[in-house]
């Protein structure tokens, strides 16, 4: 039995990847389990310059999920290359650089830099709802996604994953734009814009007022978007949004994802990634599949 999957020229030893922004640069979780076990790690969203992020509180608990408004706090791409890649490279797991910017030039510049760095793929975050400029603005329209992807594609020497926002009317239109502009792979969903109010204080819980919803609550929306996107594009899909166990991960793969990312659930169960990998292996055995890749799109309709 083979758990490995091939996505956009990358070979992952299994289909489970740590989702960007929930896993830092891997150091913290490396104390909980062996990072060699992971299919891959998508690092915290990187920008050209360091960013401080938004004011706290940056997290609110909601029914079956959380809202976050970190706002891309990160040390900048140069510090990432200098300080973080060496550690990540101690492990045999794919390293995916998640990148964001305010302008198309930002995106191009950072991708140019990362193209020469020791990483396996670049994940274009055009979907962060927690920053005032750029990012989600690009991700909200097909034209915006096309423009960023197209500009980046020209300078990108690594497999290019475009990460989509669920805050759109028609995800397939956006996915097709990313594909047309040369994305090798599409990942989705980023967080859904939400808000939570503390009725005793009569104030928004988040200093930033709004934030991005993730965790189990969003899973049905995410599965639906993966399903729709898989029917709309030919490039492989990395599915995410609320995955907490193998059964959730398999839902995404049956819906059409070639791999999955897990984020929020790790806050509750720091072993969620390895537990999920093991659970997928068992499901494959018990359900007569030969390998993980066969799960992709194996929905009976």
């Amino acid at each position: 039995m083979d758990l490995s999957v091939n996505i956009a020229g990358m070979k992952l030893k299994n289909p489970v990847i740590a989702a960007s922004g929930t896993f830092g640069f891997g150091k913290e979780y490396s104390k909980f389990f062996d990072l060699n076990k992971l299919g891959g790690i998508s690092v915290k969203g990187l920008t050209l310059e360091p960013r401080k992020g938004n004011e706290p509180p940056r997290i609110a608990e909601t029914p079956g999920g959380i809202l976050n408004s970190v706002g891309l706090q990160n040390p900048g791409v140069h510090a990432f290359i200098r300080d973080e890649i060496p550690f990540l490279r101690e492990f045999d797991t794919a390293v995916i650089a998640n990148v964001a910017g305010n302008t198309v030039d930002d995106y191009r510049a950072i991708v140019e830099i990362l193209s020469d760095a020791d990483i396996d793929a670049i994940e274009l975050n055009v979907s962060c709802p927690n920053v005032k400029e750029g990012c989600l603005l690009f991700g909200s329209t097909a034209a915006g996604v096309f423009d960023v992807t197209d500009a980046v594609r020209k300078v990108c020497k690594k497999p290019l994953i475009v990460k989509l926002s669920p805050n759109v009317t028609d995800i397939t239109e956006i996915a097709r734009a990313a594909e047309a502009a040369g994305a090798d792979c599409i990942s989705l969903i980023n967080t859904i814009l939400g808000m939570s109010i503390d009725v005793e204080k009569r104030k928004p819980v988040l200093a930033n007022v709004m934030g991005g919803l993730s965790g189990p609550a969003v899973k049905p929306v995410a599965v639906r978007m993966v399903y729709q996107t898989a029917k709309a594009v030919k490039v492989p899909i990395i599915g995410m949004g609320g995955i907490s166990n193998e059964s959730d991960a398999i839902e995404f793969m049956l819906a059409g994802a070639s791999a999955v990312m897990i984020g929020t659930a790790g806050f509750v169960n720091p072993n969620v990634w390895v537990d999920t990998i093991q659970g997928i292996e068992e499901y494959i055995k018990e359900n007569g599949f030969d390998n993980a890749a066969d799960l992709t799109g194996a929905l009976i309709e």
Binding site: F33, P56, I59, G266, F267, V268, P270
Partner: protein, 258 residues
């Protein structure tokens, strides 16, 4: 890794204040004062995130540690349902602890409300030190662990907002009075923002070593997700530190209170 540990005791200390004693070789073997554990309050979606609770006391012989919490919202309400013998899912010890005083030093701890708990563990861990404890509570009904603090310190001053027990008013008052005639080597504080802010600023002004234990809403609790920010000085500028990993204990002079 399995984070489930056995509860060996639960006790109600005052209205809405409860203690849980947990046996854990793993946690008791590593914990230092000022650290916390991240507790799962349910097995499911209710109170989905873990709750950070300070380590309040450690018994190395029994390999147990105590947490004391106040029942407030969903998570802490669910915690009230745990009983002796139950398993509880706790990750820890987490965060950075207090800088321990050296033998012979003179220290003061200033705690308010649920902020007093990590200070007990600190006091219990530094013998040979001259320790004065200042504790503030809302009112007499809320006073908890007085005996333990008395036992662990050389002098205990309790204040209540309404004067129903000890000194009347905020605990900062007797502390500042004391500070006028005493110069401690170290001050440690934890509690409501106005209290820790005023203690911290006072100490910084007087150039007294002071450490503050901060609170913030958390996601991962281990430093990976960057949600638990707290504003700290960074040269002429500021930066956001992680309460869960860089803290919860910070040097007073690093903090920017708003």
């Amino acid at each position: 890794m399995d984070f489930r540990e056995r509860i060996v005791k639960t006790e109600t200390l005052a209205k809405d204040i409860h203690l849980i004693r947990i046996r854990s070789e793993q946690i008791t073997g590593k914990a230092v004062p000022g650290q916390f554990v991240n507790v799962r309050c349910s097995n499911g979606l209710d109170a989905y995130l873990r709750r950070p609770i300070s380590i309040c006391s450690v018994c190395p012989t029994d390999k147990t540690f105590d947490i004391v919490y106040m029942k407030r919202g969903k998570g802490t309400s669910l915690l009230c349902g745990f009983c002796e013998g139950d398993m509880i899912d706790v990750i820890g010890p987490l965060g950075s602890g207090f800088t321990m005083p050296s033998a012979g030093e003179k220290i003061a701890v200033v705690g308010g409300g649920i902020g007093i708990f990590p200070l007990l563990y600190l006091l219990e861990s530094c013998n040979g030190v001259n320790k004065t404890a200042f504790l503030g509570f809302r009112s007499k009904d809320a006073v908890v662990m007085k005996d333990a603090f008395e036992y662990a310190s050389n002098k205990l001053v309790v204040a209540t907002d309404d004067g129903t027990f000890g000194v009347k008013g905020f605990v900062t008052k007797p502390f500042f009075d004391w500070l006028n005639v005493n110069r401690p080597d170290r001050v440690y504080t934890c509690g409501p923002l106005p209290m820790i802010k005023s203690v911290a600023e006072h100490c910084v002004k007087k150039k007294i070593f002071c450490e503050v234990s901060m609170e913030q809403r958390m996601g991962c609790g281990i430093g990976a997700c960057l949600v638990c920010s707290c504003k700290v000085k960074e040269g002429p500028d500021f930066d956001y530190a992680r309460v869960c990993k860089d803290g919860p204990v910070f040097p007073a002079e690093k903090l920017i209170f708003e």
